[in-house]
């Protein structure tokens, strides 16, 4: 039983890591369809990764070991987060060693290392990117925490599997506080994953870029890791969102093979739906000026806090 | 016997130095006389500790723990000040501020001043007490005007007139006291002014008369203590006289004047039982503390600054004596001791600092720590001590005063603490900028005597963390005596 669970957890994580770029490809493809373009195909991210992994790396002379280590840390942190978050089942091995707060901490590790690496070379763009990333971070991080707390207050736990189990175990109740939290979460998700309206992952427009500015100096394997970590991050956020707000269909430890297969399919469907919605949002909104970003995130933060307050006021 | 010697030595000293004070070795003689006075006072103290209070000279002189403690303190500070004054006055002579003839006057008056203070402390006769206080004023007037500059003459004039008038009120008070006592004791044998007798029959004295008498006595001796608003002579006299004199004025004369007030308070409170005297003292004390604190903020002259600080501390002591009771009196006596020691130590350092800088204006004094670490550290530590920073003894007594005030007079506590905070800011800001910083001052022609400074501060430090049981018992006895 335990061995099975172990295998299941490992395979879930490995699968998620492998599938993450596909998610990115799907979003891009959906966007292209929505914009009446043909698009580069679902597998474009994999092609990009293969290309990058083939190339010789170019590293600035002024780079320090931190610069080179950072992509590994980013990827490692994201992969670990994937291992913690329930993708299609709540059988994560590390679930009890890191709760939602630690998850936020993990994301923060990735962010801090990205920002530090960006500052390492000492170019104007690198520091600019780092500054903007941290600006996003200092608002989105507490907002994310607040979202988690709303769920935690409802379920009396900060452990993601327990949240999911509690949410699904009783019959459908509409939590007004969760509605606020969901709104806030979507906004945080957009900001954290460098999507429109905060950032545009597909351009290098110097004055508006955030995430791209930080990785300007990276190439080849380092860049590949970073891109992959980005994809993983999107997957992680999607999985978190789905676990919090659409927790149904996740398999529990001890479920039979059929149930697991079903939950896998349900999870894939939910992720596809997520991609479509994300593409829709991105297509329908315009990019904000960089200094509107704090307002956007501030709104997200306040919404999340309101969610908490609403929970306190109305009770569960 | 020790008592006679105690009075005789400074008197003789005044005579001898009056004749030979212009000689080169006069400062050393001054030290020698002061030292023998101190030794004698120790003998007397030992005698009191051994035998308890006693009367001498047809009851005209009286020694009890209260005054013998002040006698010892006075003799000690008198001695250390004379040690300080030795190089200090030499440097003043070197700078041409005084000549030999003035030095003779200085030394002679210094001893005479000691004599008058000791007389005031030791006498049992309230009339003699008055005479001695007046005489102390007269001798110090001459000392304050020693430099014969416009400012020093002005200061001395104000000192003389204000204290003279003030003390005249005290005489009226004494007359009223005599008047009341004479009705009980009779005029024969002239015992009606002897404190011991008065104290014995204080319950029978006429309350109305004593109340009136106390008003006059308080205003009179209070002027000399420097209680606001009677204090106006004090900063001037402290600022313009030679620094050793500022040191003894602050450290000793104010104490002696306060001693007179307290002696009278004991009688009056005994007679009236109304607490009026206590309340008056508390009121004056608080007012002095408060006013002095705000005055401190505007000072430019360093000696004036510490003059006001003396007003503040006299206010605290007066307040404490006003509250009365074993703890408050204990605290007041302790505060008298530590204030005398600390303030005179400060004046010692201030004196040398001013000599180095050639000015008393604080804005022109900088970087004492660099030019002379001992002076700088002495001033800095002394200031911190006087501001009531632990582990120095001033904190100990202030702690006792404040905690007692919280119990007995809670309304007064915030005022007291506010004043202490303001005073802290005012004084420390000034002193810090004098002690710190860079400077181009030069060393002095004679090596300064800073041993007294550190001896005083060491004693104050000791009193801050450990009061020897003997001393504590002694204070307790005196405190009980004051009631």
């Amino acid at each position: 039983m335990n061995a099975l669970n172990f295998a299941l957890a490992i395979s879930e994580t490995v699968m998620a890591i492998a599938l993450a770029p596909l998610l990115l490809g799907l979003v891009d493809q959906c966007r292209a369809w929505l914009q009446n373009r043909r698009g580069a195909g679902l597998l474009q991210p994999y092609r990009t990764l293969r290309k990058l992994l083939k190339k010789d790396a170019v590293v600035a002379q002024t780079a320090s070991p931190l610069f080179r280590a950072s992509p590994y840390v980013q990827f490692g942190a994201m992969a670990l987060a994937t291992a913690i978050i329930p993708i299609f089942g709540t059988h994560s091995l590390l679930a009890t060693s890191a709760d939602t707060i630690a998850l936020v901490g993990l994301f923060a590790i990735a962010r801090v290392f990205t920002a530090l690496a960006a500052m390492d070379i000492g170019t104007a763009f690198g520091t600019l990117g780092a500054r903007r990333e941290m600006m996003i971070g200092f608002l989105s991080e507490p907002a994310l925490l607040m979202v988690f707390f709303t769920a935690s207050l409802i379920t009396q736990s900060t452990l993601l599997p327990n949240i999911v189990i509690t949410m699904t175990s009783h019959e459908l109740v509409i939590y007004p506080s969760l509605a606020f939290a969901a709104f806030a979460f979507v906004m945080v998700l957009l900001a954290e994953n460098a999507r429109i309206p905060i950032d545009n992952p597909s351009t290098h427009l110097e004055l508006t870029m955030i995430h791209e500015a930080m990785v300007l100096e990276y190439s080849a394997r380092h860049l590949a890791l970073i891109e992959w970590a980005t994809a993983l991050k999107l997957l992680n956020f999607a999985a978190i969102g789905l676990a919090l707000f659409l927790p149904w269909g996740l398999s529990a430890p001890g479920d039979g093979g059929l149930a697991i297969a079903a939950s896998l399919l349900i999870a894939l469907a939910k992720l596809a739906l997520f991609c479509a919605v994300l593409a829709l949002i991105e297509t329908m909104s315009a990019k904000l000026r960089i200094f509107r970003a704090p307002e956007f995130l501030g709104t997200a933060f306040l919404l999340a806090v309101l969610g908490l307050l609403v929970h306190q006021l109305l009770g569960s | 016997m020790a008592l006679w010697c105690l009075l005789l030595i400074p008197f003789l000293g005044a005579l001898v130095l009056g004749l030979f004070g212009a000689r080169r070795l006069a400062p050393e003689f001054n030290v020698a006389f002061s030292f023998s006075t101190f030794v004698t006072s120790l003998v007397l103290t030992a005698q009191v500790i051994r035998e308890g209070s006693f009367l001498v000279g047809r009851e005209q002189f009286f020694v009890d723990p209260f005054n013998v403690f002040l006698v010892a303190l006075t003799a000690f500070v008198g001695w250390t000040t004379s040690m300080f004054s030795r190089p200090y006055m030499r440097i003043e002579e070197h700078h041409g501020r005084v000549n030999r003839a003035r030095l003779r006057l200085y030394h002679s008056m210094y001893q005479l001043f000691s004599f008058t203070m000791l007389l005031a402390l030791l006498t049992n006769n309230l009339g003699i007490l008055w005479v001695a206080m007046e005489a102390a004023t007269l001798t110090t007037v001459l000392l304050v005007s020693l430099y014969r500059t416009a400012a020093s003459i002005e200061a001395a004039w104000k000192y003389f007139i204000l204290c003279g008038v003030g003390i005249a009120q005290a005489l009226f008070g004494t007359i009223l006291l005599y008047f009341a006592a004479e009705k009980v004791l009779g005029a024969e044998g002239s015992t009606a002014l002897l404190w011991t007798h008065l104290n014995a029959i204080k319950g029978q004295l006429e309350p109305t008369v004593l109340t009136l008498a106390f008003v006059f006595l308080l205003v009179g001796y209070g002027t000399k203590v420097g209680l606001a608003p009677l204090h106006n002579w004090l900063p001037d006299a402290h600022a313009e006289g030679p620094t050793p004199i500022s040191a003894v004025l602050s450290g000793l004369l104010l104490n002696v004047a306060l001693y007179a007030v307290v002696r009278c308070k004991v009688l009056v409170e005994g007679a009236t039982q109304s607490g009026l005297a206590s309340h008056l003292m508390m009121g004056f004390g608080l007012l002095s503390v408060l006013l002095a604190a705000f005055f401190l903020l505007r000072q430019k002259d360093i000696k004036r600054l510490f003059g006001y600080s003396s007003i503040e501390h006299m206010g605290i002591i007066t307040f404490a004596f006003g509250m009365g009771g074993p703890v408050a009196n204990f605290a007041a006596l302790l505060h008298m001791t530590v204030h005398s020691l600390t303030k005179s130590a400060i004046f010692f350092t201030v004196g040398h600092a001013c000599q180095k800088a050639g000015t008393q204006v604080m804005d022109d004094i900088r970087g004492l720590l660099l030019v002379s670490p001992t002076v700088g550290w002495g001033l800095l530590l002394g200031t911190l001590a006087i501001l009531g920073m632990p582990p120095f003894g001033v904190f100990t007594s202030e702690f006792l005063v404040i905690t007692t005030a919280m119990r007995d007079q809670p309304w007064a506590t915030p005022i007291l603490l506010l004043a202490l905070a303001v005073a802290f800011g005012a004084i420390f800001h000034r002193v810090q900028s004098m002690v710190f910083g860079a400077t181009d001052l030069k060393p002095l022609p004679h090596p300064p005597a800073l041993l007294p400074v550190f001896v005083h501060l060491g004693l104050v430090l000791m009193l801050g963390i450990y009061i020897p049981p003997t001393l504590a018992n002694w204070y307790r006895l005196a405190a009980a005596m004051i009631g």
Partner: protein, 665 residues
Amino acid sequence: MSLTPLSIILALVLAWFAVGLLGLIAPRNVAWVGRTLFPLGAAMGLAMAVAAVLAIFGATETRILAIGLPDLPMHLRLDALSAFFLALIGVTTTGISLFAAGYFRGGDGTAPGLMGLQYHVFLASMAMVVLADDAFAFMVAWETMALSSYFLVTTQHRVPEVQSAGFLYLLLAHIGAISLLLCFGVLQGGSWQFTFDAMRAADLAPAWASVAFGLALFGFGAKAGLLPLHVWLPEAHPAAPSPVSALMSGVMLKTAIYGMVRVSFDLLPHTQWRWGVVVMVVGGLTGLFGAVFAAVQSDMKRLLAYSSIENIGLIFSGLGLALLFRGMGMGTLSALALAATLYHCLNHAQFKSLLFLVTGSVMHATGERSLGKLGGLLRHMPWVAGMALIGTLAMAGLPPLNGFVSEWLLLQSYLLTPSLPHTLINMLAPLGVAVFALTTALASYVLVKFFGVIFLGQSREPTAPPARDAGLLERAGLIWLAATSVLLGLLPVLVLRALDRVNLELIGSSLGERAATWWSVMPLSSERASYSPLALGIGILVCVALTFLLVRRLYHGRIRLCTPWGCGYPQWTPRMQDTAEGFGQPIRRVFEPFFEVQRQTPTAFDSAPKYRVVVTDRWWGLIYAPIIRLVQMLSRWVSFLQQGNISLYLLYSFATLLTLLAFVL
């Protein structure tokens, strides 16, 4: 005298004194003072930590010394709370003293020997503060601590700013002390015994208890740097030599926390929940304020000073929570909040000292404190940078380091507030947790700025000679503190077991043995929340290592070095990197109303364009300036009394006489 922990600790305190005095033998001899005495002091610190840890698990000890007031000899008491703080002092000072051994050199400031005396008196007085068991002993130790640290702050007294910083510090410390004195006066509650035992026994009316609590909050808040009494902190910390800043920020501020805990949990047995609300609100605001201000600083030590204010805010908000729970009679929850608070004290002591020491090394290497002139030191000072990175990550609250553990515990306690039976608090708690979260997030912003601007990028002053890495002793100090930061993060069980003793003593309830195992922390129940730092740490390491190995296997390209690309801009100088001001700019814009900003922007036609921005604290103008004006006005009025006219003076005497006569008539 048997060899109890208390006697060992007392002996160590005396030994610190002695070490300090020994420095006066040859005050200018760096080898003697630095290489001999300071390491000796460090060893004593370690010994103290060991003795204190033993004492936490031992019985409470009391002793009466033969010094002090005649009626109130100094009482000492070593219980779990004081032992915990002694351990904190011991552990932290070990690192700081080691560093200081290499740091202090001859120079134009105070002689090293004298500084050694002040330093060790400072240490000894902090230990005595924690041991004191009566008001007098406490006040003496407390003020001695203020005084000795004041002297240490003003070491470089030739600099005018240092003077004013020192003055402000001592003034506020003194005002705080006055408030504490008043507080003790209220606490004794009519017994007029000033021992803490009497205060514990005193039965105060609730209103008086609140007054005492308010006074304590003011007094200890002034020392800790609570809003709005924080003004001295950003001045004094930069002025002091770095080991001293480390000591003040890392250790001395904690004595204020100790005092607060002692008064509010021990001396005031009947907690009122309203106190908790007040403390929580003040703490939360302080935290946010500190973080926001830290983000816009351009002096590295000021930045850290504001960050200390931030952490103090967090600690106080946790303390508020603990009081709140206690006031509501929820022992276990209160125990959790208190444990989290004290844990954060310990953590903050480690990483903040570490970072202050780092600034010391940086200043020694470059002579610069301004972030605008630093940069790229990672290449020249790998050791310092490495340790700084650990400190930075710890303070930014990243798992699995120590900052995260205590913040995690604090957040867990916040999540328990819905169980409180009070609507207002239930509404306040979400706001509290929001502010808390925002503050911690801002902290990572601040620390990215701190580390990035100093150690990463290129030197912003390219002409400066290359910096040298820290010496051996300095390195040892840094490593010690970094190691404690990591250990405290990975093995919270060590601390939580000790803190449970404190909880039992102060609150009467505890988290229990099950709350923390070697493997993981489960403060209340394993369903509710758990965190396993070891697992997470190993997980991160494994993931990163696996990634590394896999990429190595998959990847076949080589590495080429070239000039940075920078979007292909042809002209590129290190001065084009973000400055500290630039990095703080988003925060400045977002939190505009917090600041008073003076900006000097160039126009397009300036021949020598200059951009300058000065950010100042509004509190000064709001509170301090009016007070100063009021006092000055009063003193001006008072000085009208003294016009130099003798007739007037006589009139005063006369009027006094007549008034008094009329009064008694």
